[in-house]
Symmetry: C2
Subunit: 346 residues, 2 copies
């Protein structure tokens, strides 16, 4: 085999100083003579030294790593993790979460460990991973309301930040969006455009974000003179949007405005409408939610309620970092405001 990787010892010998001194310059601790600093720096370059992380972690008790967990709520192995992962990334939402997290981590030379937790075994795996000190904390994005992971993490006192407020409450920090206000913005947009027969395709109603978006939408519609709004429940996928719209149309063929609880479903709604020969937005106005990539690539481009996922994810990482360093001990929450983005479907 090739020779061993150089250690602190090697650098120290090369520079003619002690290991402690080399450690100090490596870690940028002050109180080191500039001349010696220079000397050590050169020795590091000559030897091609790279500090062994395991050794450092062993003493600092920090992995300088965080886990990014996408968590479902399955209890058995009904679905392989591979299938779950594939399904998850089909929604542009998760790519945005990754982008936001990476945006925060990158300047700190940190990189996330990606984990998918869909079964009880997976959840146990996440717990173990953290308890072994392989990661200092977890960022979790749940796809279901009754995800047991947050509770487990909180009970184990592991630093954690959630995307979205947990239901039931768990003493963990989280980042969220004012979904109700998002629903309100969507309703206002449809009302302003003069819609007379609005309808909505909701997200899974077990998810509180779906509930909130719906509540905000309904309340505002009620004030606008539409006490009853037909509704069909979707599953945040394109197909479910198509299906939900099919149902809606069956009972209310004269719908002239639809609020879909995410862009993917809104895209499905547009597809179906078009297949049925109805024009968007001339016959039916459509408004989505998220402002993900599909909103722009949809034909026509989608009017939608923007959720600043990247910023939210970066904020999650920032909060987790504070928890890990002990700069923050109590759970906190940060709620972002949605924003209407008008394109061509309204």
């Amino acid at each position: 085999m090739s020779r061993q990787a150089p250690t602190l010892e090697d650098v120290a010998r090369e520079a003619g100083v002690s290991r402690a001194t080399v450690s100090r310059v490596v870690n940028g601790v002050r109180n080191v003579d500039p001349a010696i600093q220079e000397q050590v720096q050169r020795a590091i370059e000559r030897t091609g030294y790279a500090p062994n992380r395991a050794a450092r972690s062993l003493v600092t008790r920090r992995a300088e790593t965080i886990a990014l967990v996408v968590s479902g709520a399955g209890s058995g192995p009904q679905e392989t993790q591979e299938a779950f992962a594939a399904r998850v990334f089909a929604d542009p939402f998760f790519g945005r979460v990754v982008a936001g997290v990476v945006g925060f981590l990158r300047p700190r030379s940190m990189h996330p460990v990606l984990m998918f937790a869909e079964s009880a075994d997976d959840r146990h795996e996440v717990l173990t991973y953290l308890r072994q000190g392989r990661a200092d904390g977890a960022l979790v994005v749940s796809t279901h309301a009754d995800d047991p992971l947050p509770t487990l993490l909180a009970a184990a006192k592991l630093p954690t930040v959630l995307f979205a407020r947990p239901t039931p409450p768990v003493p963990l920090s989280y980042v969220d969006l004012d979904h109700r206000d998002g629903g309100r913005l969507a309703a206002l947009a449809l009302l302003e455009r003069g819609c007379r027969r609005p309808a909505t395709v909701t997200g899974p109603l077990a998810v509180s974000a779906s509930q909130e978006r719906l509540a905000g939408f309904r309340d505002t519609m009620a004030r606008g003179g539409h006490p009853y709004v037909p509704l069909a429940e979707g599953g945040f996928t394109l197909d479910s949007g198509v299906f939900a719209m099919t149902q809606l149309l069956a009972e209310h063929p004269d719908v002239d405005g639809v609020f879909a609880a995410n862009d993917l479903m809104a895209q499905g709604v547009c597809q179906l409408l078009r297949e049925r020969g109805m024009r968007v937005p001339d016959d039916v106005a459509v408004i989505g939610f998220d402002d993900s990539g599909v909103a722009r690539s949809c034909r026509p481009p989608l009017t939608t309620v923007r959720q600043p996922v990247e910023r939210m994810a970066a904020e999650m990482a920032r909060l987790l970092d504070q928890h890990i360093r002990g700069e923050r001990t109590n759970p906190t929450s940060v709620v972002f405001d949605p924003e209407l983005v008008v394109r061509e479907t309204t």
Copy 2:
């Protein structure tokens, strides 16, 4: 603070044996009396012991972690890593890579560290990460042909497996698809359908996969009586597909069959065609490449050439694992075969 996490020592004391014995049962080494094994097992449960990974890694010299690197070819910080990450995940391709990798890693209780390398700094970061022993090897997916990362990795003798054959050659294992054959399948499908005026929207021609797909397509078209096939270069994005098709139509308004080098561009082609009032497949047949999620959600569903990305990614992980364990020392390559998936655009 809460009390320290239990160590081997604690378990040993609790079980009335030595640390060495506990270590043996934890690592499933044979030669341990079943009775004692049982005894230790219980002590582990009672104490809630979880082995400290840093300590273990320090002696085994294994992080039991691999890096999944998405690598561009930028040289400066023209684009933030966040923007790069967002762009990358806009293509369903990467989600499938993640899914495939996770599918292999999961049964081994391993999880990938996600890294994006778009600038020289990023690449240095990847090298350092591996040299520090934070990950045992890297899986790299390059988005550009002239990505310098593989060469750097090879020079540093770091275990690495690439997605796609590197150009110029680098002594590293890789997994690839027979792109030329994929182009052939696409041509055959169009020919069989009776297309008389075929055209193609290629991927970035700097990428060898694009070149190969094009070559296979052209050769087969030539044999089928179409020595010249109009072409427009795209960038693997939906927008570029729309743009390329616009160009094609401008010069060849009578096109009746289009092969787009990936599904995203094929979707763009379909959108434009529809906007121009041309029916798919009645007026123009369209065929994509990849068989990613968009192929199914596209209206009409896309006929496409399937690239088994998940299986390919899993194979990458398997090869890397072998390299890391020293079970394989020389670079190897595994080439998968494409497959035609007929849906409704031909």
